[in-house]
């Protein structure tokens, strides 16, 4: 069960980080001069999304 839960969590996080990445790339393409700001915010947001997935993984580990 834990492994399935961790898998679903990874799926969600992958989706989230993928969306962030795609939007950031589109934004950089539109405004290359803002690339640095966009990149910093992209990494920050991706880290927050990943945090949610990691909580799920820890819960998965505890559920064993």
């Amino acid at each position: 069960m834990g492994a399935i839960g961790a898998g679903i969590a990874a799926l969600g996080a992958g989706l989230g980080v993928g969306l962030i990445g795609s939007q950031a790339m589109a934004a950089i393409a539109r405004q290359p001069e803002a690339a640095n700001d966009i990149r910093a915010n992209m990494i920050l947001t991706a880290a927050l999304v990943e945090g949610a997935a990691l909580f799920a993984i820890v819960v998965g580990l505890l559920a064993g």
């Binding site: 990494i43 920050l44 880290a47």
Partner: protein, 429 residues
């Protein structure tokens, strides 16, 4: 820059000291519980986890390699002994080198070495002083815990034909990944503590040289090792501290952010070195990341201004019934943020180590533990190539996680010290 750098030196010294003081007691996770031996069987285990007679135990080997240890395993049967500082309320302090255990063949004052970690014989009747033990046996037991049946590992030391129950290593994590507070406390300089001290010493040496460079070349172009680190300093100042904390306050927190970044970075990079001075999983240890996260929590909470606490406890500008729902969520958020910092760093670094060790494990798995040379070669080629690939990704992750830890810390500090929250918020959009 010069002033900032001088401050950094102090902060490391303090941080490194605190980390060392705080971590050995609870710097021991996993390893003990997940040895993956076959259920129901009792058989002898060796101090390194491999060398099982019934085939290659991939999970157990990986878990033993990412766990902390009281001795440094260099190669095949070469170990570097580390000092042990052990305290048991029943018998007081014991100081000795872990080399005296002879890798699990000797018990000293009732302590034995099991899979590289110090365990204690629970029974007070066990002889004190140095005694030879026949070995350590292992058993799976089912216990009823919170209404569920759980399989746990139980270890016994065999001495003069009799089995003596072993207490698990002492950890402060309440047995989350094995261990717990048992009948003794382990303050030893373990593998992880050794590597942390090494990282601290490296940082002090390199950065005093860099600070000297800044004093010498004031107003001039950087030279030598200083020019290697200058881009990092400028990056952290201009991309992390300034935008996240704000022009007005960032200088105060710059030393802390830099300390975090470089300490985590050095530990990550040392963890990627697969041989002696490196190879320990420091930032992939829950206790180490917990200590770092607690520092961030304290820095954020102690520097929080009126606006910050107002926003936590009684968010202005929203109806009262929403406040009743929001306040518990905000209070929970206070603790969840450092908690996610802790889990993020731990999970990222541990996952990387587990993947690399699993790929190396393919050699033994395909080679059927030494029976099939062709399989081992195939496993070596596949595992080797993927390991190179994973190591390069891990190199990126080492920098990325150090950066994420410091940028998130900076953003939490930023939210705590920000003045006129609403005004600035509108400006930012």
């Amino acid at each position: 820059m010069v002033r900032v750098n001088r401050k950094i030196g102090f902060v490391w010294a303090i941080a490194a000291g605190l980390l060392w003081a705080a971590s050995p007691l609870f710097a021991q996770e996993h390893g003990q519980e997940q040895n993956g031996h076959t259920t129901g069987e009792t058989h002898e285990t060796h101090s390194e986890g491999h060398g099982e007679s019934d085939g290659y135990d991939a999970v157990g080997t990986v878990m033993n390699h990412i766990a902390d240890a009281n001795e440094f395993h260099v190669w095949y049967n070469t170990h570097i002994a580390l000092p042990c500082f052990l305290y048991a309320p029943a018998q007081g302090w014991s100081f000795f080198s872990s080399g005296k255990f002879e890798h699990g063949h000797k018990a000293i004052d009732g302590y034995v070495l099991n899979h590289g970690r110090v365990n204690r014989v629970a029974d007070p009747a066990f002889p004190k002083g140095e005694v030879h033990i026949e070995g350590i046996t292992h058993q799976k037991d089912t216990v009823l815990k919170a209404g569920k049946e759980k399989v746990v590992d139980v270890y016994f030391a065999t001495y003069e034909g009799k089995s003596w129950l072993l207490d698990k290593p002492s950890t402060l994590d309440g047995g989350f990944l094995g261990g717990g507070i048992t009948s003794f406390y382990d303050f030893s300089i373990t593998k992880n503590v050794f590597t942390m001290l090494l990282a601290a010493v490296l940082l002090v040496f390199l950065f005093t040289a860099v600070a000297r460079g800044y004093r010498r070349n004031e107003g001039k172009a950087p030279s030598g090792i200083q020019s290697f680190f200058e881009p990092f300093f400028v990056f952290i100042r201009d991309e992390v501290s300034k935008p996240m904390i704000g022009e007005k306050h960032y200088e105060r927190f710059q030393p802390y952010i830099m300390t975090l970044f470089f300490f985590i970075l050095f530990c990550n990079l040392l963890g990627l070195v697969p041989f002696f001075p490196g190879s320990s999983n420091v930032t992939g240890n829950l206790a180490v990341t917990l200590t770092l996260a607690v520092f961030t929590f304290l820095v954020v909470s102690l520097n929080g201004n009126k606006h910050y606490w107002e926003h936590v406890f009684w968010m202005p500008g929203i109806p009262a019934w929403v406040k009743i729902i929001l306040t518990p969520v905000e209070i929970l958020g206070l603790f969840l943020r450092p908690f996610s910092l802790m889990i993020r760093l731990f999970a990222n670094i541990s996952a990387g180590h587990i993947i690399i060790l699993s790929l190396i494990g393919l050699i033994f798995l395909f080679g059927k533990n030494g029976e099939s040379v062709g399989g081992a070669v195939a496993g070596g080629i596949i595992g080797g190539l993927f390991t190179v690939f994973m190591n390069l990704i891990e190199l990126l992750v080492a920098f990325l996680q150090a950066f994420i830890f410091s940028i998130l810390t900076a953003s939490y500090i930023g939210s705590a010290v920000e003045d006129h929250h609403h005004h600035e918020h509108e400006e930012a959009h």
